[in-house]
Symmetry: C2
Subunit: 109 residues, 2 copies
């Protein structure tokens, strides 16, 4: 098995960090300021989480004047999918759900 990026698992293991990623992913580009507003931790803490997310490619940043805007990069999750795909059971258990997803994606449906 190819050695999956350990940093990816580690980056997602912290709940605060995962929450930050989820907000950005679901609501689009966010500034550090807006993230700090609801993170429940200080601004430096948020910045550090963002740095870790960035180092594992889960987010990218864009400077706009004095603000830094962060966007989600969910493609960075692909190694996780690959890793899980080695444990076949998961397909069996979620086959129904999988079919639904495929139908929704199929333009000829």
């Amino acid at each position: 098995m190819q050695p999956i990026a350990d940093d990816l698992f580690k980056a997602l293991a912290d709940p605060t960090r995962r929450a930050i990623f989820e907000w950005i992913a679901r609501e689009g580009e966010q500034t550090v300021h807006s993230l700090t507003a609801r993170a429940g931790v200080s601004q430096p803490a948020v910045s550090k989480h963002l740095a870790i997310l960035k180092s594992s490619k889960l987010v990218s940043d864009r400077r706009v004047g004095r603000e830094t805007h962060y966007s989600a990069q969910p493609q960075a999750l692909v190694p996780l999918v690959d890793w899980m795909s080695h444990y076949g059971v998961f397909w069996q258990d979620r086959f129904d759900r999988l079919e639904d997803l495929l139908k929704k994606m199929d333009p000829n449906d």
Copy 2:
């Protein structure tokens, strides 16, 4: 979003622990002894990792005399799949691979 079991992410975040899980998953039931032989850490360390894997349902144990046999429970990964399914990009990017997997699973193929 339902609060995904934090313990699951944490359990998988450690590389030694993940390796142990992978061995059991790929090669079937294993004793603590055999796992210790290649884990690169002491037997108590392995036992602790197994306890953590067990507490997040990733493995189950079965006592046989003085031995304890551990088996993988990959269904415990399902919450991870669910979590990732919220970040749609992943399906688009891996669609080809997904198709391959489905073909391999199809008994009429």
